[in-house]
Symmetry: C2
Subunit: 89 residues, 2 copies
């Protein structure tokens, strides 16, 4: 036990976007319609491929700035690309 020294080492427990579950999007569909790969889209949006994967899968929500870049890139509005499940009471 070495002198009673305790080092707490839990940096962050694994999270998984609670909100994201409610938020679907049409990104995969739009990306494929343009014949783009995830990597190419990631480049166009200045994010990593992991981010594209996570957002397409709904693992978590895009930030507002990213949502805007996505909307601009596909020439549509944020609200037409991201579908908010209507149970906001």
């Amino acid at each position: 036990m070495r002198d009673g020294v305790i080092i707490e080492n839990v940096k962050h427990v694994l999270h998984f976007g609670k909100e994201a579950a409610k938020l679907k999007n049409r990104i995969r569909e739009l990306r494929r319609a343009m014949g783009l790969t995830q990597d190419e889209l990631a480049g166009a949006l200045s994010v990593t491929r992991q981010t594209v994967i996570a957002i397409e899968k709904g693992t978590y929500c895009a930030s507002l700035p990213l949502a805007h870049r996505i909307a601009v890139f596909f020439g549509e509005s944020i609200e037409s690309i991201f579908i908010f499940d209507e149970e906001e009471q």
Copy 2:
């Protein structure tokens, strides 16, 4: 020096939304037009008053789900409430 044990205790350095600088919004204006207090708006949006303050001031960006709730609350689109400075080349 007590036996060479080093406990690093820097949890997180202070950040300040880099993106937020580019993102202005009309929330204060819209809130006042409805005669609402920050606290009342916060309640209506299910966030704290601090969050309303920070977003009105542009300290950081709202998340996409919150941006959506704000848009619904004021009956406008996300893009009409949040103004993205156009230097997204």
